[in-house]
């Protein structure tokens, strides 16, 4: 008998507040992969903004809250490379030398995954429920790519949909200019980088740019629209993988 994996979905605050259908798509995908999904109701933020800005106290408090909410799950999965990266790589850094909390942070880190990475590497999902058809280009978001090695996993999943044609853009691995708080601290530079990224997206000729982090989605979509591009879709990979035909 195949054992059901109990997966806690770390929705992430951006998904919750800006595009909740990505969270629902993530549930569908995890269930398709045979997981039992739990979504702790009181969850909020992984603490990244505080961590990246030197507000360790807030980041630490949020990390403790998240650890408490998710540690009874077998796995923790987030539809975001940067939030998964925060839990997996940086939570332990918030509790240096603190025996019990450090141990709990490390234990949680071990079982935390980015969504596509989890679906491919751990769950070994056989088929995807979506039926998207059209040309797409894939943007590799910084944290997922560089902290977690998310690169082939989303592409492998997208390949499972026969209607999709992947047209890789130039410099797919280059930052879109969002960079979390970077976009706030250095807005002008961020905007120029977003412009370059959007030029690359448009040069690819794809009808949609697909990616795995909502921060980058907001940045890229916002810039495309301000450039007058109302056509190019900006989609989270989970949306595409659950696309209703």
């Amino acid at each position: 008998m195949i054992r059901t994996m109990r997966v806690g979905l770390l929705v992430t605050c951006l998904v919750d507040l800006v595009r909740p259908r990505i969270g629902i798509a993530a549930v569908k995908l995890l269930e398709e992969a045979g997981c039992e999904v739990v979504v702790p109701r009181a969850q909020t933020c992984c603490g990244q903004p505080g961590w990246n800005s030197g507000d360790r106290a807030s980041a630490r408090a949020l990390a403790q809250k998240l650890i408490g909410e998710f540690e009874d799950c077998e796995y923790v999965v987030a539809p975001s490379g940067s939030c998964a990266g925060m839990v997996k790589l940086h939570f332990a850094e918030l509790f240096p030398g603190e025996g019990a909390w450090l141990e709990r942070a490390e234990r949680l880190a071990k079982k935390t995954y980015e969504l596509t990475d989890f679906l491919v590497t751990i769950a070994g999902i056989a088929r995807v429920p979506g039926g998207y058809s059209g040309t797409i280009t894939y943007h590799d978001s910084c944290s997922g790519l560089r902290e977690l090695g998310v690169k082939s996993q989303p592409r492998a999943l997208l390949e499972k949909m026969p209607g999709i044609e992947l047209k890789e853009m130039k410099d797919a691995e280059t930052c879109c200019g969002f960079g979390g708080t970077f976009s706030v601290k250095f807005g002008e530079i961020s905007a120029a980088m977003a412009q370059t990224k959007c030029d690359r997206v448009r040069e690819s000729g794809a009808g949609a740019v697909v990616l795995g982090d909502l921060g980058c989605i907001l940045n890229i979509e916002g810039k495309l629209r301000r450039m007058g591009d109302e056509q190019t879709l900006v989609l989270h990979v989970a949306e595409v993988l659950t696309w209703e035909r």
Binding site: D171, T174, C175, G177, F186, E188, I189, A192, M193, T196
Partner: protein
């Protein structure tokens, strides 16, 4: 160069509005990163990473006993007739060089590329003291004509386009304008030749004081043999006089690889000891050889949480891969090294 990092936002903003710079930087974006990837693949990705880790640990080991290595270098170099001078700051390094110039009555200094001399503001100090510095790295030479600091540590004039170089050469060389790169390069060589022949002093960065305490540098940095060599050696580079040649080879091989140049420098040379009349001297060596070991804040990082910064081999790969650098260019950072270096 005055440290102007505090004005980063304003300078970045200006760079974003500079259309010519923007168009030049867009062209820069392509090439370097791809070449690095190709070089890494050709070398073997895991062998490449092994070489990087090996180089890093050589650095780390040397830094742990930096004081001992430096003293050993001084002792051996002194025994061979080289004068070793120590400089706490860039200012002190400049004063050493000026004293050397005064002592030997030197009026023209020929230089190979040295970020350390940029950091110390050596050219300005030499000029003020009546010693003419002449840059011989093509990029640095272009910038000397333009009176600008480098914008990238291995490609100093990357922010200049062809037309800008043509204009500079036309103005300074008093020759008909050309946009042909081969002709421009020849023009630079022909202009620099008399400087090489007439220089009293050669200044270059020392890449790796090393085994038997000779100074190593890459072949492409060799231009001529002046009367006095003054190796502007960074204190932290002094780790390379290691027990075996294989140790010295690691970081040297690793340097151009990460920098995305693909081909490694084909030839390295060990500098000769100064010429001496007694049997042990090198007949072809310079009349005098000085090494200035410059700290300028570096040893403060030894043993600190930022000590990994001292592993930097100045290959420039970070700039070649940085989308922020590509977007605003090197001058926006306000110092010879972009990023946080200026703060430490």
């Amino acid at each position: 160069v005055q440290v102007a990092s505090i004005h980063f936002k304003r300078r970045a903003s200006e760079a974003l509005r500079d259309e010519r710079l923007q168009s030049t930087m867009k062209r820069f974006g392509g090439g370097f990163a791809e070449k690095r990837t190709a070089a890494r693949t050709a070398f073997g990705a895991s062998a490449f990473e092994d070489l990087r880790s090996a180089s890093a640990s050589i650095r780390d080991r040397a830094l742990e006993h930096l004081d001992a290595w430096l003293l050993r270098f001084e002792e051996e170099a002194t025994r061979r007739g080289t004068t070793v001078l120590w400089a706490e700051s860039g200012d002190e390094a400049c004063r050493h060089v000026l004293e050397i110039c005064a002592r030997h009555g030197l009026k023209k200094a020929i230089k190979s590329k040295s970020m350390l001399s940029e950091e110390a503001g050596l050219n300005e100090r030499l000029a003020a003291a009546g010693v003419q510095p002449v840059e011989t790295d093509l990029g640095e030479y272009i910038l000397q004509l333009a009176d600008e600091p480098p914008s990238h540590i291995i490609a100093p004039a990357i922010h200049k386009d062809l037309a800008q170089v043509s204009e500079l050469f036309e103005k300074h060389h008093a020759r008909p304008r050309t946009d042909d790169i081969a002709r421009l390069t020849r023009e630079a060589r022909e202009t620099l030749r008399p400087h090489f022949l007439g220089a009293d002093l050669g200044i270059f960065r020392c890449q790796f004081p090393r085994r038997r305490n000779r100074l190593g540098r890459d072949r492409h940095e060799r231009r001529q043999r002046p009367h006095v060599h003054d190796a502007a050696a960074r204190a932290r580079r002094d780790h390379r006089h290691r027990e075996s040649d294989s140790d010295a080879r690691g970081p040297v091989d690793a340097e151009p690889g990460p920098a995305a140049l693909g081909d490694r420098t084909g030839h390295r040379e060990l500098l000769l000891d100064p010429h001496r009349t007694e049997a042990r001297g090198d007949a072809d060596g310079p009349e005098h050889m000085y090494v200035v070991l410059v700290d300028n804040g570096r040893t403060r990082l030894v043993g600190s949480e930022l000590k990994e910064m001292l592993r930097c081999i100045r290959c420039g790969a970070c700039m070649n891969h940085c989308p922020v650098f590509h977007t605003i260019g090197g001058h926006a950072y306000g110092w010879v090294y972009p990023g946080r270096w200026a703060r430490y």
